[in-house]
């Protein structure tokens, strides 16, 4: 992976003003996005593609929910917990959301430390992020088992439209898989940071390329994306 070299404004070619300038910026020589590395560009484009995947999942779910002729189970009731005798709707989901959003915060701190080349802090913060992520997946596993124990299956449930269970398992399962992959990436990168791979320019195991601290930020992009997707799932599946 090649390091981005800053292009001082004085070195760039003269370019036209206004709209023509906009076009020529986009078309400009060597790189369209100046000072964006290959890895970061790739992650952004991948996330765009992944957005379409989640978008299709959510649209499919919404069209099922809107067109069903049987009642849709009430999410506030389904996802309620009895805590100390009190009936609290959506409490687990609220905690899960809180945990995941907190993990975005620690991730952002890790990125900051990474650019300051603070190996220990970066690795620790990434570990904390991974821990939050694992907690999230754990709570999701709890939620799944609770629902399964109550009789929710992909092909039916005791309260109404069968698509409730199928959409729930499919969408949260797909998102949970993303979080799990994210946790694995975080652990791998955290290990590399801890070991100082990016200071010693140790070649990667598979690609035999030297990594850079920027990979922390790229992992962060993925992590924030997974977090953002959850916000939409939360809004459209649980709050609707």
């Amino acid at each position: 992976m090649s390091a981005p070299i800053k292009t001082p404004a004085a070195d760039t070619l003269p370019r036209p003003a206004g709209l023509a300038g906009l076009a020529s910026d986009w078309a400009s020589d060597q790189r369209t996005f100046k000072n964006v590395s290959w890895g970061k560009a790739m992650m952004w484009i991948f996330l765009l593609s992944d957005t379409f995947v989640f978008g299709c999942f959510l649209l499919a779910y919404m069209s099922a929910r809107m067109s069903t002729t049987v009642p849709w189970p009430n999410p506030s009731e389904v996802f309620a917990l009895e805590i100390a005798g009190a009936h609290v709707p959506l409490i687990l989901i609220a905690i899960m959301t809180f945990v995941l959003i907190s993990s975005s915060g620690t991730m952002a701190m890790a990125v900051n430390c990474g650019y300051r080349r603070d190996r220990r802090k970066t690795a620790l913060l990434m570990l904390v992020t991974a821990l939050f992520g694992a907690t999230f997946v754990g709570m999701q596993a709890f939620e799944w088992s609770k629902l399964i124990a109550e009789g929710v299956r992909p092909w039916g449930n005791p309260w109404g439209a069968a698509q409730f269970g199928s959409s729930f398992f499919m969408i949260t399962g797909f998102h949970g898989t993303h979080v799990t992959f994210g946790v694995i990436f975080l652990l791998i990168i955290a290990r590399k940071v801890w070991r100082g791979d990016f200071d010693t320019e140790r070649p990667g195991f598979f690609t035999s390329r030297k990594g850079r601290y920027e990979i922390v930020e790229i992992t962060g992009l993925y992590w924030h994306f997974v977090d953002l997707v959850w916000v939409f799932i939360f809004a459209f599946f649980y709050l609707w």
Binding site: L13, R31, F52, S166, M170, F206
Partner: protein, 592 residues
């Protein structure tokens, strides 16, 4: 606006990116098998795609045998016929055309044409091929699975795709098909990200986007579209797999099968159609745009003339790419959706004709008063233009709701899309192989064999598909195993069907000439030299032919001009390579 021809004489931009570290292979295995070199990966992709394409070709023969001579061949029963249709369609569209244009030509041409050493992520690029191969193997496995491959039609419409009346519906067929598609999409994404980032961020000094050859523009835009369209197919496949394996009801309405009420209920088959065609229509242009791009370069090079209206060509590619995402429901006029949708989608569909027509005019105007060399690539390029116009015109019929309704599900539709996305892109693939084979191998393909191949394929394709339009117009439905005694089917239809089948066998056999040519010329072809077509683009300016790993030797190329400086008045030669500085500026600028 960016003047595509200006920039000559401007100061040379400084390099923005360090030269890349390449993985240097140490053994035969990492050099030729698990290779990270985009050019080797391209050849692997192309070979696999052509091999599986031959399977699909044989399947089309079998279908034509049944249609032309019904009842003659015992081994083709109705189930087998539907399996042939399904596998022929899916293999040709996804595993041959998409893989060959993007995985094959994309991998070979993008790094060379933009002046890069390799794709930006060679390791992911290598994985992309091996995952594609896995997808192909899973697909092939369905031929040997109990119950055989799926016979749901290449569109895999539920509910019939997962019911027991359909071959493979309750066996392995549909499962393996869906699994294979999912694997294909994962593999493609790895490659696709590479192609896009290489074009955007990995170009040579001086290579602005508006100096890119149109080939790269076509492949690039198609890849972006594929990255946005394949997700819909991915989601549709996952959901249908769940319907089949877990008993969910995403696409399955309440349904009675063999007198028995199934467990499904409340799903929407139309939802699948929307998801499928949200992928399926862009897919047409994912195949067509690389063909548009490549054919522009073939025409310009072999007519020794700059492409007419380069900037309009670029915009047309981009606009077609964008529009193709909002036309999908023109495949669904008879699905029972709201008629106002039909109105909207008919309008957008017909609007696409505008940028497409711009492209066709520009190709013709490029030829106008050009110094046309009727080489094999040029012949195929001309064949493409004619075929594409033909197929495009019948597209206008099918894009209009009122005309489409009676024509829906007739052989007219089959003839239309075979012309426009079967024969036309295949013409470009052949032209491109004749054009770039000398760069890939260092030898020319045999001219005489190529002429036989072209004329039989070109004329044969018309003898197959022109009569098929007529057969469709009189109302013969598609996907019918046999016509039997239908009052509206005249005797002439049966005669034509037999004729079409004979032609299909001949055209199919002509491809053997092509394959033989590929193999024979590898050893015995005429030595090509580095730039046999006297072309301007960077891939012809490599220090060695075939280009080695890393493409350019020690120095990366520097680009001084657009890709179409042919027959420039006053120039010494009738072409000026993109990396040649203006005479007079050559002395010190070239080495700076």
């Amino acid at each position: 606006m960016v003047d595509v021809r200006s920039g000559i004489g401007e100061p040379l931009p400084p390099p923005e990116v360090e030269d890349v570290e390449l993985y240097h292979p140490h053994s035969w295995w990492t050099r030729y098998v698990f290779s990270q070199d985009a050019k080797i990966i391209a050849i692997q992709y192309a070979t696999t795609a052509i091999a599986i394409g031959m399977v699909a070709l044989v399947l089309s023969w079998l279908m034509r045998l049944q249609l032309g001579f019904p009842g003659t061949f015992d081994f083709i029963d109705a189930d087998a016929y539907y399996q042939f249709i399904t596998m022929h369609g899916m293999i040709m569209v996804i595993y041959l055309l998409t893989a060959l244009f993007l995985g094959g030509f994309g991998n070979y041409l993008i790094p060379l044409m933009v002046g890069a050493r390799d794709m930006v992520f060679p390791y992911a690029n290598m994985l992309s091929y091996w995952i594609y191969l896995l997808a192909v193997l899973v697909l092939v496995a369905s031929f040997f699975a109990p119950g055989g491959p799926t016979g749901a039609g290449w569109t895999l419409y539920p509910p019939q795709a997962v019911l027991s009346g359909t071959p493979g519906g309750k066996d392995w067929g549909i499962i393996l098909m869906l699994a294979s598609l999912i694997i294909f999409i994962i593999g493609f994404t790895m490659g696709g990200l590479n192609y896009v980032v290489t074009v955007l961020q990995g170009r040579a000094r001086g290579m602005t986007l508006m100096r890119l050859p149109l080939t790269v523009w076509g492949i690039f835009t198609a890849t972006v579209m594929a990255l946005l369209a394949f997700p819909a197919l991915f989601v549709a496949c996952v959901m249908m797999l769940f319907d089949r394996l877990l008993g969910t009801s995403f696409f399955m309405p309440a349904i009675v099968e063999m007198g028995e009420q199934l467990q499904h209920g409340g799903g929407s088959p139309i939802l699948f159609q929307h998801l499928f065609w949200f992928f399926g229509h862009p897919e047409v242009y994912i195949v067509a745009l690389p063909a548009f791009g490549i054919v522009s370069d073939l025409i310009s090079t072999h007519a020794r003339k700059n492409i007419f209206g380069y900037r309009m060509m670029v915009w047309a590619i981009v606009i077609i790419g964008g529009l193709s995402f909002i036309v999908w429901a023109h495949h669904m006029y008879v699905s029972g959706m709201n008629p106002y949708f039909g109105f909207f989608f008919a309008t957008t569909t017909l609007i696409i004709a505008v940028p497409t027509a711009i492209k066709v005019y520009n190709w013709v105007l490029t030829l106008w008063r050009g110094n046309i060399h009727l080489t094999l690539p040029m012949l195929f390029a001309l064949g493409f233009i004619v075929t594409f116009v033909n197929g495009g015109l019948t597209g206008l019929f099918l894009g209009n709701v009122v005309v489409d309704v009676p024509l829906s599900d007739t052989m007219f539709v089959v003839a239309h899309f075979h012309m426009v996305m079967g024969v036309a892109p295949i013409m470009v693939i052949f032209g491109a192989i004749y054009h770039w084979y000398p760069k890939i191998t260092g030898r020319m393909l045999n001219e005489a064999l190529g002429q036989i191949h072209f004329w039989v394929t070109f004329l044969g394709a018309y003898l197959i598909f022109f009569p098929m339009h007529y057969v469709g117009l009189v109302g013969v439905p598609r996907r019918y195993y046999e016509l039997g005694e239908m009052a509206f089917v005249q005797e002439s239809v049966h005669t034509l069907n037999a004729f079409i089948s004979v032609m299909a066998l001949i055209v199919g056999a002509a491809q053997i000439v092509f394959l033989f040519n590929l193999a024979w010329s590898l050893r015995h072809g005429r030595e090509a030299g580095g730039n046999p077509w006297r072309a301007t683009t960077l891939e012809w300016q490599t220090p060695e032919t075939p280009p080695p790993h890393g493409n350019w030797g020690r120095e990366l190329p520097v680009v001084y001009r657009w890709a179409y400086d042919y027959s420039v008045p006053g120039a010494a030669e009738d072409f000026i390579p993109q990396n040649q500085p203006t005479p007079g500026r050559m002395s010190h600028e070239a080495v700076s």
